[in-house]
Symmetry: C2
Subunit: 220 residues, 2 copies
Amino acid sequence: MQAPDTPLTHQRRKDARPAELTAAALALFVERGFAATRLEDVAARAGVSKGTLYLYFGSKEELFKAVIREGIVPVIEIGEALLETYRDDPEHLLREIIFGWWKMIGSTPLGGIPKLMIAEAANFPEIAQFHYDEVIVRIRRLLATALELGQAKGVFRQVDVVAQVQIILSPLLMLAIWGHSFACCDRAGIDPQRYLEATLDLILNGLRKPRGNGENGDAP
Amino acid sequence: MQAPDTPLTHQRRKDARPAELTAAALALFVERGFAATRLEDVAARAGVSKGTLYLYFGSKEELFKAVIREGIVPVIEIGEALLETYRDDPEHLLREIIFGWWKMIGSTPLGGIPKLMIAEAANFPEIAQFHYDEVIVRIRRLLATALELGQAKGVFRQVDVVAQVQIILSPLLMLAIWGHSFACCDRAGIDPQRYLEATLDLILNGLRKPRGNGENGDAP
DNA sequence: AGTTAATAACTGACCAGTCAGTTATTAACT
DNA sequence: AGTTAATAACTGACTGGTCAGTTATTAACT
C-alpha cells in the first residue's frame, strides 16, 4: 500500500527547491497579492513545509525579491538580441518584439509580473526600482531604438519617441494584466493573437509615413 | 490653550462620514492594496475612530464594495453624454473622450481605481464583475460607437473594432496605473498632457483612411 | 431624561517566523 | 557487506504580534 521509492515527504532536493519555491510564490503572489498570500500555501504548492521555505529564504520579502530578480531579467537579453537580427527591417523588428514578448513573457507565468509589480510597487520601493531599472527601462530602450531605426530609414514618421514607446507598450502590458484580473468576468475574452495582430495594425498604420507606399488599408 | 468651538473629537456628522470614509479608504486601498490596508488607518485618515467606521460599514469588504460602487459609475454617464454632443465629428469625439477621461477620472483620486480593481479582481470576483459590467463594458461601448461612427462617416478605416477599443483604452489605463505605481521610480516622468496628445496622434493616424485628407504628419 | 453619534478598550483569529525533533544521506570503521 | 556515527534536509507544532471586528462607555444634541 506504499511506494517506497517516491515518499511524498522528506525528499531531499536542495538544488531544486529554490526554483520550485519561487515558481509557487510567483503564482500565488500574482493571483492574491503579496500581503494576502500565506507562506504556508506557497510551501504547500511547492510540495514542502513552511520550515523548509525558511531554509532557503530569510523572510517573505526576501522570497518576493527573489521572484522578481530571477523573473524577467534573463528574457530581456533575448529581446535585445532581436535588434541585431532585424536591424534592416524596422516593421519586422517591431513585429518580432511584440510577438516574441508574448511568447516568452506574456503567455508564460512571467506574464503575471506586471500585475504583481504594479500592485506592490508602492509597498516595496526598492524592488520596484530594481524592476524599473532592469526591465522597464531596457524594454523601453529596445522599442525606442526600433522606432528611431524606422525613422532613420524613412519608414516611420517623426513622432514623440519617448511618449510613443510607453504608448506602444501599454496594450501589451494590459493584455498580460487582463489575463490575471478581469479575464474571468470577460467570458469569451478576445484571442491574444487577434489582439496582438490588431495592435500591430494600429501601431504600424499610426507610425508609417502618410504616403510612403502603395499597399495599405486591409479589412479584417 | 483650546478652541472649544472645534473639538477634534466626538463631532457628530452622520451625513458626511460615509463619503469621508470611502474617500480615505480609496486612497489607502489604492496605495497599499486591500489586505495591507488597516482599517484603523482608514478611520484615522477620515478623522474618526475605528468603531465609528463600523457604524457605517458592516465589514472591510463592505467598505471596499462601497468604494467601487460610488466611484466611477456616476462619471460614466457624463462620458456617454459626449456621444450626442459630438456625433457629427468622430475625431473630435475621440479627443473629448480621452481628455475628458483624464480630467474627470485619470487625474482625480478615481484614477487609482484601475490599479486597485486589477490587483483585487481575483480576490473579489463579485466586485470585479460589478466594475466590469458597470464601468469597463460601458466605456468600451462608448469608444466602439465612436469608432463605428467614424467608419460610417468614412473618416476611419475598417478595423477590428472589438480589439481596437481595448487597445485604445490601454494607454489611458496605463497612464493612471503608472501614477500609482512606478511614478516614484520614474523621476521626471512624462507630462500627462504630452502623453495623451501623443496617444491621440498615434490613434488618429492609425485609424484614418490612408489617403482621405491632405493635412497629415505633424512633427513634434 | 432620552436618544444617538462617537470613542477606546477589548477579544480572538490568523499568520510570519522559530525551533526541537525526525528522516534521509553520507562517511567511517569494522 | 554490514553496522554505526555524523551531518544535512526537512517537518510541524508553537509563539508573539497584528488587526478585523465587538462592546462598554462617554459626549453631544433634542
